[in-house]
Amino acid sequence: MSETKQTGDSPKKDHGVLYIGMDLGTSRTSVSASNGVRETIYSLVGYPKDVVSKKLLKKDVLFGKEALEKRLSLKLYKPLEKGVLKYTGDGNQDAEAKANLKAAQELIGEAIRVAKPRKDELVYCVIGAPAEASVKNREAIIEAARAHVDSVMLCSEPFAVAYGLDWLEDVLVIDIGAGTTDLCRMHGTMPEEADQVMFDVAGDAVDAELARRIEQTCPTAQFTIQMVKEIKERYGYVGDPQERCIVELPVQGKPTPFDLTEQIGQACSILIDPILRGIQKLVASFDPEFQQKLKSRVLLAGGGSMVKGLDSSIEKAMKDRLGGGKVVRIEEPVYGGANGALKVAHDMPAEFWEQLK
């Protein structure tokens, strides 16, 4: 039984309707709500390793940044991989897959909690889910959310981004996440399989490439993949560098400055070629009369789009390969999906919400 459903103990839900838009991502989960709350948390769930750590942490489960900071005392789960849950729902899955499912469910619950819903308001939630998610995967997401809200729907993530900006026709959305990069063309209807391209060269691949390059060029430097991720988020760029990227990394325990400008630029550049191939595929298979319009309405979204100079580099490459194009980076890349999902929730008629309760 849902804890928000009306029972004898719970308050009557007659004070209003709270809409929540959620972008469930491999690296981050963002929520935007109609009470003005906008939050993002790392998609990490941690459980105390033993009784001692449980006593020390005083919690049964930790999320996001807190889980990352206390990771040495935790069994840490990253329940999403390449944009989808590490759970396929087939009977042969091991205990680890089931633990990942539980972690995903708790993560969704936490994401809804951070939106600060009131007990006396109806809560309606739209979750942006990747197009590649299996039916079992989608069911698991819906089940997890239903425990915390009154009604929930899923919608395609790139669609949510475009809908949030009212760009519904002849738009090409590029959503660069941590696990995957999704390209989706919109032509006034819900996108179908032929309208979407997905590949796994995304934020995590850039981190791995940067780590490899640092290892090669600075063999004495000590670092973790999390440190590399933070370096990329701080300095990530493509094209011409605007500043030198001087980063301190420990060498035999002593913080030592390293100039990683070249390595960062080269690692981030791996995003461009697959994106261009995806754009070319979606443009070439589109109605020739509207191809020009589609090329001039390319939306760049997702955490990975914050790499400096990425929009202009894609534009430049489009000019070389496709004869031109216009790329617009959305104003708030981290919240683009959540804001769009919130708008979908807002525009959904009451009878639809009622039927899905």
Partner: protein
């Protein structure tokens, strides 16, 4: 009117949430537009009045204004109720923490007294046995001296016999006494163990209650939504028809998913 303005200002403050410049930067926000609270309050007032002015006339406008004010104050009251509820949970949590502290102290005290009593018993036994042994030795010596003065009996044989006799009697006595003492001590130990178990159970229950209170406390009052009712696509929206179709498509896909899920379950 000034009162309402202050209340409105307070409500805007309560609904706002704090963030830092660095966390905004992390979220990809480079620039922010700043709007003062007085300006926000003035805008709300102006918007409400303009809307009322354009939609209603005369008494009707007054009635709607009064109803709106009443609704606003009702929402504030409900928020205050939730705040009170939160304070009550916090009070209960403090009380439970005090109880746990007291129980922990009691438990430690009981353990200490049990330990003390066991040590004392061992000490008493040792000194008591030493005294009894000395007394027996004295008595045997007396008997031996008496036998030595009489003729015809070997002293050694006499000593052995007396010793056998005495030890037989004494060991029987000791056995009985030991059993009695053990029974008494077992009763005391049993009592103390029962009290300790009870205290441990109570401690566990109180800790559990504290956890529940702590968990409940985490459920904050929440922040009110901007909307009182379900909205739907606005009829003023230039893309209303297209958006309505898209909403229907999303709904159909979700309904199908739900049906599959129900059939599969």
């Amino acid at each position: 009117m000034g009162g309402l303005r202050d209340t409105l200002k307070e409500a805007v403050r309560q609904m706002a949430f704090r963030t830092s410049l660095s966390s905004l930067k992390k979220k990809g926000v480079q620039k922010v537009n700043v709007l003062g609270i007085d300006r926000i309050v003035a805008l709300i007032e102006a918007a409400v009045h303009r809307s009322l002015k354009s939609r209603f006339v005369g008494d009707e406008r007054e009635a709607v204004a009064a109803a709106t004010k009443a609704e606003f104050l009702r929402l504030l009251r409900s928020n205050e109720d939730l705040q009170r509820q939160k304070s009550e949970w916090e009070r209960q949590k403090e009380q439970a923490e005090d109880e746990i502290d007291q129980l922990r102290r009691d438990l430690a005290q009981q353990n200490q007294s049990l330990q003390l009593q066991l040590e004392q018993d061992a000490l008493e036994n040792a000194s008591r046995y030493a005294g009894e042994n000395a007394m027996i030795a004295r008595k045997v010596a007396d008997v031996m001296q008496a036998l030595a003065s009489s003729k015809g009996v070997s002293t050694k044989i006499a000593e052995e016999r007396v010793m056998e006799l005495v030890m037989d009697v004494i060991s029987g006595e000791r056995h009985d006494a030991e059993q009695a003492r053990r029974a008494l001590r077992d009763r005391e130990v049993d009592n103390l163990q029962r009290r300790i178990k009870k205290l441990t159970d109570t401690l566990q229950q109180t800790e559990q209650r504290l956890q529940q209170v702590a968990a409940t406390k985490n459920i904050e009052a929440g922040i009110s939504s901007l909307y009182r009712d379900v909205q739907g696509v606005s009829s003023d929206d230039a893309l209303a028809i297209k958006k309505t179709e898209l909403m229907a498509e999303i709904f159909r896909a979700n309904l199908e998913l739900q049906k599959k899920s129900t059939n599969g379950a």
